[in-house]
Amino acid sequence: MTQARTTPFGSPPADSVIAVPVLSIEDLVAGYSSGPVVRIDATHVAGGEVLALLGRSGSGKTTALKVIAGVPLTSSGQVRIDGAAQSPAARVRLVARTIQSFPLLHWLPVSGNLEKAARIRGVKLNDPDQILRLFQASHLVDRAPHTLSGGERCRASLSQAIVGSPRILLLDEPFAGLDSWVKREVADSLFEFARQSNAAVLFVTHDLHDAVEYSNRSAILGGQSPSTIVAEVDSADAGAIDRIRGLLAKEHAS
C-alpha cells in the first residue's frame, strides 16, 4: 500500500533550494590502500534536511560517512560545508559522527560523557540538559552506561554527538535493534535537531522502510569498487518504497 508520506514537519522549507546547502559534495572518491570504495559525483543536503544513505552491506556507506566526517582516508574531490570547501582536518570540527555500537566511555556517567566530548572538542557545555531533552534523555543524565538499554544508549550517544553544535550529523545504522516506537521518537528528534540548528543530518541504513520513514530523501548506493549513488528518491513521493525496492533488486541481480 502506498500513499503520500510526509514527515511530521513537512518537506524541507522551499527557500532551502535558494539557500546555500549545508553539505555539498563534488567528485568525491574515497577508499583505502586497497583502492577506492565509494564515489559521489554531486550531492547536496540542505539545512534542516535528513538524508538516508541506503545500500546493501559493503556498498561503502560507512566509508562515505567517514570521509565526510574528515577521517584520514585516501580521498579526492571536494566537500563544502556552508559553501566553503573544508579539508578533512577542518571537517572534524564541523561534523559529528556516531558509531554503530553507540559506545559510551564506561567509567563515566552520561553527564561525564557529554562533558568529555565537550572538553575534547574544545567547546563549553553550558546546558547539558537542553541537549539531553532534545533526545528525551534528560532522565539519563547520571546513569552509568552499563545500566542503559539499547534505546537509551542510542539517545545518550546522540546527545553526546551534538555537544559541539555540529553543522552535519552523521549516523551509522542508528535504528538497528530499536523497536519502532523508539525509532519514531529518535527520528523526530533528529528532524527537530536539523531544523533547530539548520544542520544537515545523514544516516546510513540497509532497511528501506527505515530510510523512507525517517528521512526527507534517500540516496541509494550501488555498484562496486567504487560504488556510486545510483538514484535519489524523495521520501514524500508516493511509490517511493516500491521504486527503491526495484532499484535494490536490480543491484542484487547484478
Partner: protein, 339 residues
C-alpha cells in the same frame, strides 16, 4: 562520581612520594645491638667501610673485635663492616674502588691480579688455607683415597673449588666429574640426609656446626672427619687483607693503619678468646655461643701467630699453585701484589 583517573593519579603520586621518604633511614646499616665500647660521640669520626668477603662468621671475628676494642675509633674512624658474597667478588669490588679495603683470600688476590685487577695485599691472616674436605664420621672416610667413588659437594663460584682441584692433583686420587655435586645452598642437610658424603668447606664453619649437632651420632667420640687440604700440599695463602693499588697510592697510610688494626684484633682475640667470643656474641646474638667459641679456636689455630705477615716466598708458593692448575694466563710476580 569523582573522576576515577584523577583519584588514581593522586594515589599513585602519594605512594611514590611515601616510598621515597624512608630513604633517609639508610644509616640503619649499623648493627641492631650497639658495640660495647661505644662511648665517644660518632660525629667527629670519618666513616669507612670494611668489606668482609662472606657473611659474618668467627673467621672474621678479628675484624669485629678490633671494632669492639675501639681500635678503629682510635684511628678516628667510624667503621662499618659490610658482609659480602665471595672472595672473587670482593676483590673485584676493591679493584673497582667501590670499597677501600676488604678481606679476600690469597687465591682471589692472585687470580684477581691475573685478571688485570690492581690489587695489593696489606697482610695475610691465614698463612695456609683452612679449607677442608669434611663429612660425617660415620661415612668411614679417613684418607683422601677413601673419597674415590663418593659424592663430593663443591660450591662452584668459590675459591675452594680451585683448592680442591689442587688437592686432587697432589693426592693423585681418581675422582670422577660425575662424583662432584654443585652446591648453592646449605650443605649440612644434604650430608645428614645422605645425599652427599663429603663437602668442601672451611674448618671453622660447617664442620664445627656438625660436631655440635646432637642429631648426628658420633663415631669414636667424633661426629666429623676433616681432611685439611693444606696438609696435602695445597700451600697457598688464605684469608688476607687487600686494597687496590690506586687506593694504596692515594690513602696508603689510612689502609695500612686499618689493616694493622685488623691484625691487632686477631692478635688480641686469640690471646683472650673468651672476651673476644663474648664480644662477637653481643654483635650477633642469634649465633650459638659454643659454636663461636669452637670456631674461633680453630681460626686461631689456622692463624698460628701470623698476624699480617706476608713474604715473597709465600706469595710465590700461592702463585705457583695456581699456575700449576693452569689458571694464570699471565705470569704474576709477588711484587705485584705486595705493597
Amino acid at each position: 562520581m569523582v573522576s576515577m583517573t584523577r583519584i588514581l593519579f593522586s594515589v599513585t603520586l602519594i605512594a611514590i612520594l611515601l616510598a621515597c621518604l624512608p630513604f633517609g633511614c639508610e644509616k640503619k646499616e649499623a648493627k641492631p645491638a650497639p658495640a660495647p665500647s661505644a662511648a665517644k660521640s660518632l660525629d667527629s669520626l670519618k666513616p669507612v667501610e670494611i668489606l668482609i668477603d662472606w657473611q659474618a662468621e668467627p673467621t672474621y671475628l678479628g675484624v669485629y673485635y678490633a671494632k669492639s676494642l675501639g681500635l678503629y675509633k682510635d684511628l678516628g674512624l667510624d667503621v662499618t663492616v659490610v658482609q659480602g658474597r665471595g672472595a672473587n667478588q670482593a676483590a673485584a669490588a676493591v679493584a673497582a674502588g667501590t670499597y677501600k679495603i676488604a678481606t679476600a683470600s690469597g687465591g682471589a688476590t692472585v687470580l684477581g691480579r691475573n685478571d688485570g685487577k690492581e690489587l695489593v695485599s696489606l697482610g695475610v691472616i691465614y698463612p695456609h688455607v683452612s679449607t677442608v674436605v669434611y663429612g660425617l664420621a660415620k661415612s668411614g672416610i679417613k684418607e683422601p683415597k677413601d673419597l674415590v667413588g663418593k659424592k663430593i659437594g663443591i660450591y662452584p663460584g668459590s675459591i675452594t673449588k680451585n683448592e680442591f682441584d689442587a688437592f686432587v692433583k697432589f693426592t693423585n686420587i681418581a675422582v670422577k666429574p660425575d662424583d662432584i655435586v654443585s652446591l648453592s645452598g646449605a650443605d649440612i642437610p644434604l650430608l645428614k640426609a645422605g645425599k652427599l658424603d663429603a663437602v668442601l668447606h672451611y674448618s671453622e664453619m660447617s664442620p664445627v656446626l656438625v660436631s655440635l649437632d646432637n642429631e648426628v651420632s658420633p663415631v669414636d667420640g667424633k661426629r666429623v672427619f676433616e681432611l685439611h687440604v693444606a696438609d696435602y700440599g695445597v700451600s697457598c695463602y688464605g684469608l688476607n687483607v687487600i686494597t687496590s693499588r690506586a687506593t694504596y697510592q692515594a690513602e696508603g697510610e689510612l689502609v695500612k693503619k686499618i689493616a694493622a688494626a685488623i691484625f691487632e684484633g686477631y692478635r688480641r682475640g686469640c690471646a683472650d678468646p673468651e672476651r673476644a667470643v663474648a664480644a662477637f656474641k653481643v654483635d650477633f646474638p642469634q649465633m650459638d655461643a659454643e659454636y663461636i667459641r669452637q670456631s674461633w679456636t680453630k681460626v686461631c689455630k689456622t692463624v698460628d701467630g701470623n698476624y699480617g705477615m706476608q713474604t715473597k716466598e709465600g706469595w710465590q708458593a700461592t702463585i705457583d699453585m695456581y699456575k700449576s692448575l693452569g689458571l694464570l694466563k699471565a705470569d704474576v710476580k709477588p711484587e705485584e701484589v705486595m705493597p
